[in-house]
């Protein structure tokens, strides 16, 4: 937000400001415009009040600024600094309205001397690791989609481990979490972390490795900037996630790991899938499976129907052919019929019992018989001898 003060009027008019209005406007102007900043300077006249608040000035060659540090911030900074101590402070510029004073509200203070040494070591290690390609993006491995075994290198009694187990338990309870505990700060932390990371490579079936700890002061995170820890992390054979400190802190392990998470909880979320999502995926696959078989059987039914049609067609043509043949045979049969012979003038004698009389012996003198001719029967009798 930007506020601008109105242009001054020539003479006192209805636009006369109160002092409060002025200081409030300036306060808004200053505090709205400037975010918290890191400032380097020399401490002068630090007074620690019984309330715990510190008041001091910060100066360089040509300027100085009043600073105040409230007790809750002051208690993280150790002893009050002596005059002339060079420090970095994180502060937000503001106006103390009661006195109309410009001052810096300090939230963190770090002596430059300590920072100097740690910073130089950090830069040294960083350069080495960079030279060896440990930060290369080409090295970064993707996380497995459905990891079922996660190794966690952290302090056995820290909040980081509790957070990770909680998140994994909530999202992906079918997972196995193998804790490889190690000191994460103080003496021996570097050795313990490097050893724990090497141990991860010997645990069977591990799919992801989380290296983590909760937030802490810059000094507390030092082990995560150590060269041996970084190199051991680079040699872990499964994809790694570094989750060190809180979001604002970046350690070298964050740069070496395949992935970086702002917090241990976030690392756990990255490491494992969400059960509900996979269940939805399974439901979808189940539906497609059923649908797939359904369409496959429908296809078979259609083919069967087509086959039946063809079969019927084939049968019909066979039947048609057979019928023609039968008709032709029928014609031939007709031609052979004795009735056709009668048409030509022949006659057939038939006895009273209906059988054809073929021999002389069958004609007894005086016996009646019938003579079949083309258009019917004629009664007849053998002449008496």
């Amino acid at each position: 937000m930007t506020y601008s003060l109105p242009l001054p009027a020539i003479a006192p008019t209805d636009e006369v400001w109160s002092v409060t209005r002025l200081t409030t406007s300036v306060k808004r102007l200053v505090e709205g415009e400037l975010m918290p900043l890191w400032i380097r300077g020399e401490v002068v006249g630090c007074k620690a009040w019984s309330s715990g608040h510190w008041y001091f000035s910060l100066r360089d060659r040509s300027s100085q600024v009043r600073c105040c540090m409230w007790s809750r911030y002051a208690q993280t900074a150790g002893e009050p600094p002596k005059d002339g101590t060079e420090v970095f402070v994180l502060g937000k510029p503001g106006i103390y309205e009661a006195k109309g004073e410009f001052q810096l509200n300090v939230t963190r203070m770090l002596p430059t001397a300590g920072i100097g040494a740690a910073q130089r070591e950090l830069e040294r290690v960083k350069e080495l690791l960079q030279r060896d390609g440990l930060f290369d993006l080409a090295r970064k491995r993707p996380l497995p989609e459905l990891a079922c075994a996660v190794a966690v290198v952290t302090s056995a009694d820290g909040a980081a481990l509790r957070d990770i187990i909680h998140v994994v338990g909530k999202r992906w309870p079918c997972c196995r979490v193998v804790v490889v505990s190690a000191r994460v700060q103080g003496d021996g932390a570097v050795h313990a972390l490097a050893r724990a990371l090497r141990l991860v490579n010997r645990i069977p079936d591990i799919e992801v490795c989380i290296l983590g700890r909760g937030g802490g002061g810059r000094e507390d995170l030092a082990a995560f900037n150590a060269e041996t820890v970084c190199r051991a992390l680079a040699e872990v054979r499964v994809p790694t996630i570094s989750a060190v400190g809180h979001e604002t802190d970046v350690s070298l392990t964050d740069l070496v790991a395949d992935h970086r998470a702002p917090t241990p909880s976030a690392a756990a979320e990255m490491a494992v899938a969400d059960r509900r999502e996979v269940e939805r995926q399974l439901d979808d696959l189940a539906a497609r499976l059923a649908g797939g078989l359904g369409s496959r059987t429908r296809l078979a039914a259609e083919r069967l129907a087509r086959t039946a049609d063809r079969l019927q067609g084939a049968m019909a043509s066979v039947l048609r052919r057979e019928r023609h043949r039968a008709e032709r045979l029928g014609g031939q049969l007709d031609a052979l019929s004795p009735l056709r012979i009668l048409d030509r003038g022949y006659a057939v004698p038939v006895g009273p019992d209906g059988h054809v009389l073929k021999r002389r012996a069958e004609f007894a003198p005086g016996a009646p018989f019938r003579l079949r001719v083309a258009d019917g029967d004629v009664p007849a009798r053998v002449e008496p001898s």
């Binding site: 196995r176 193998v178 499976l289």
Partner: protein
């Protein structure tokens, strides 16, 4: 066999079934396998709670995994 493998195989089965060139008896076999995989994956997902283990290196250098309660 992991859930990942079950899911991959299921995807494969479904794709095959959805293509039209599978014989009916092959399709039935795929379907049966798919149902079994689904069941297996759902069972695996149904685990009640996350299993937490700690690992220790013994004097001889062997690793020992033990379950952590809570």
């Amino acid at each position: 066999m992991s859930i990942a493998k079950d899911l991959t195989r299921l995807e494969e089965i479904v794709r095959k079934l959805e293509a039209d060139d599978v014989e009916l008896d092959a399709a039935l076999a795929l379907f049966e396998e798919g149902v079994a995989r689904l069941r297996a994956a759902r069972e695996r997902l149904g685990a009640a709670e996350v299993k937490v283990q700690t690992v220790l290196e013994e004097a001889g250098g062997d690793l020992r995994l033990s379950d952590l309660d809570g």
